[in-house]
C-alpha cells in the first residue's frame, strides 16, 4: 500500500511546517499485552492524557498526518517528520493548543542553523517568546539546513515545561538530505524514550504496538534512530548489518539522550525480523518491534 518515500523538494526552497501542541489520550499498549511473554497490561498502566506535537495544514486549519504512514505507523509520537535538503530554509509555525496542562511550550531544533531567537530554549532574563509560547499563542522558528546539517536530528520542547513535556512525548525528528543525495525508498522513524512504566518506541511498547515497519527486497531503506530521556540504548536490527562512518559493519548502535543516527541498506533479507533496544531491561519493558520484508 505504501509507495516509495516522496522526493525531497528542490534545493534552496523555503519549506513551511505548521505544528501545534495538542492534548490527546494516548495508549502505550493498544493490543493490551506483551505479545512475546503473553503478559497482559491493564489500561490503568497504559492509557494517559498527554500533550504532543501534531502537524497541521497551513494556518492550523486541520490536523494532518505527522509523517507518511510507513515511517511511524501513522502515530502522533514522534511529532511531525521535518524533511529538507541542504540549502533549504525551514519555517516551523508553532501554536500552543495545550488545553490539558495549560503549560507553556516551545520547539528547540538540533543540527540546523538559526539565530538565538529561534533557539526555543528557556533561559530566564535572556530567552524570548520563542522559548515560552503560552497557550493560544504562536511563534515561527526559522531554520537553515547548512552543509553540515545533512543527517537526522532531534527536536523537542525546551520551554519551562520541558521535563514533563518530553516525558509525555513532545519530541520529533528532522531528516535532512545532502545537496545531491538520493531519498531512500523507505524511511523508518525510531524514537527510544521512557513513558510511564514502559520503555517505548514512538510512544508505544511491545511487539504489534510499536511500529510494524515494512519493506521489499531491493528497496533502499533508511532508519532514523534517536533517544530522548535519561537512558542510553543499544539499537539492534535482526538479520541486517550496516556500515558505520569508520567503514565498520555494525548491527547494534549505542544511542544516548538526544543523539541521532541514520543507517541505510539495500534490502536483501526477506522475512519477519525483530528490531529492539538491546539493553535487556528496556527490551523487557517494551522497547521492541517487528520489521517485515517481503519479496
Amino acid at each position: 500500500m505504501a509507495g516509495p518515500a516522496p522526493a525531497a523538494p528542490p534545493p534552496g526552497r523555503t519549506i513551511d511546517y505548521w505544528v501545534a501542541a495538542v492534548p490527546i489520550s494516548w495508549n502505550i499498549v493498544p493490543n493490551g499485552r506483551d505479545g512475546i511473554t503473553g503478559d497482559e497490561v491493564p489500561l490503568s498502566d497504559s492509557v494517559l492524557p498527554t500533550v504532543v506535537y501534531r502537524q497541521y495544514s497551513p494556518h492550523w486549519k486541520k490536523p494532518i498526518a505527522n509523517a507518511p504512514r510507513e515511517s511511524t505507523d501513522g502515530l502522533v509520537i514522534p511529532g511531525p517528520l521535518i524533511r529538507a535538503r541542504v540549502g533549504d530554509t525551514i519555517r516551523v509555525h508553532f501554536k500552543n493548543l495545550d488545553t490539558l496542562r495549560k503549560a507553556p511550550h516551545s520547539m528547540h531544533f538540533h543540527g540546523v542553523h538559526y539565530k538565538p531567537s529561534s533557539d526555543g530554549a528557556y533561559v530566564p532574563g535572556f530567552s524570548g517568546k520563542d522559548a515560552d509560547v503560552k497557550v493560544g499563542q504562536s511563534y515561527t522558528y526559522v531554520l537553515h539546513a547548512g552543509e553540515d546539517s545533512a543527517g537526522v536530528w532531534p527536536y523537542h520542547d525546551h520551554s519551562p515545561s520541558m521535563m514533563e513535556s518530553i516525558d509525555g512525548g513532545m519530541f520529533g525528528m528532522l531528516s535532512i538530505l545532502g545537496r545531491n543525495e538520493r531519498a531512500p525508498d523507505r524511511e523508518f522513524e525510531v524514537v527510544l524514550a521512557p513513558m510511564g512504566k514502559f520503555m517505548t518506541i514512538d510512544g508505544r511498547a511491545f511487539v504489534g504496538n510499536t511500529p510494524v515497519f515494512h519493506a521489499k527486497v531491493g528497496e533502499l531503506v533508511q532508519w532514523d534512530v534517536m533517544a530522548m530521556g535519561s537512558d542510553f540504548h543499544t539499537f539492534h536490527v535482526h538479520g541486517h548489518r550496516w556500515i558505520s562512518p569508520g567503514k565498520i559493519p555494525k548491527d547494534t548502535q549505542t544511542v544516548g539522550p538526544a543523539e541521532s543516527y541514520r543507517f541505510r541498506w539495500r534490502e536483501d533479507a526477506p522475512g519477519t525480523w525483530l528490531y529492539h533496544c538491546h539493553v535487556e531491561d528496556h527490551m523487557m519493558r517494551g522497547m521492541i518491534g517487528i520489521y517485515r520484508v517481503s519479496r
Partner: protein, 276 residues
Amino acid sequence: MTARRLALAAVLGLLVLVPAGGAAPGPQEVSIEFSDYRPSQLDVLPGETVLWTNVSVRTHTVTSDTGLFDSGQVQSDDRFGFQFNEVGTYRYHCTIHPSITGEVDVRRVTLGLFPTAVVKVGTPVDVDGRTADPKQPVVVQRKPGGGSFATVATVTPAADGTWKATVKAEVTGDYRAVSGADVSETRRLLVASQHVTARPTRTGVAVTVTPSAPYAKFLVETFSRERFGWYPVASGLIDYVSHADVRIPRPARVRIVLVDQDGWTPIATSNVVVLR
C-alpha cells in the same frame, strides 16, 4: 536493622501525634518502587500519617514540591513518615529521579476505589470511604453523563469514621461522597448498559448501539498476526440516531468497541464480522 528501626521511631515520634479522642487508624502506606510510588495518589483524612517504604533496590527521596517535607535519602528497606493536618493537595517527587512523582490528597470525606473494569447493568457495587466527622451522615451522589449530581444513597458512618453503601449499577457516571460541606474526590463507574452490533456492508460494517448512545466514541479493531491480537485501526463517533458506517478494506476480521471518554476504556464490544 536496629539503626533503621530507631531512625523510623525517631521520625514517627517527631511527626505522629494522634489527635485525642479521634479515630486512630494505622498509618496509610505507600511503597517506593524502582520507578514509581505505589499508589501514586492517596486520599487521607486530616491528622493522618502517611508512611513511605522503599521496597526497591534504588535510593529515593520523598520531597514535597512546596518544601513542606523532605525525607532526605531513603535507602532500600528504609521508611519515612509525615503527618498531614490540613485539607489540601500535596504533590511530591524524588529528587534523585525527578520523573517519579506522587500526590497525597487530604480531605474530610473520602471515596474508595471503584472497579476499573466495566460492570453489568443491575450489578450491586460496594462503595466505601472514610469521614472525619462520623456524626454526620454521608451522602453518595451520582452524575450521569451531561447531568448534575443526584443522591443515590445516604449512610450513617461507623464510630471510627468508615462508611459503606451499596449502589445499583444503572448507567455510566461520576460518583462522589458528601458530608455536610465536605466533598470527596469524584470516581467514575463504568456500566455496560449498551449493546453494540456490527453487520457487514458492501464497504465495511454498519454499527448500531442500543439503547441509543448518541455521539459515543468507538474504536474499530481488526485482528492481525503482525499486531499480535486485536488492534485499533480507526476511531469514530456514533451519530445522533446511534448508528455509524465504517469503511474497512477487505479482507479483515473486525469488531467495534464502544469506549469511555478517554477513547480507550471499553464499555461494550460488538460481535466479530469477517469481511472476505
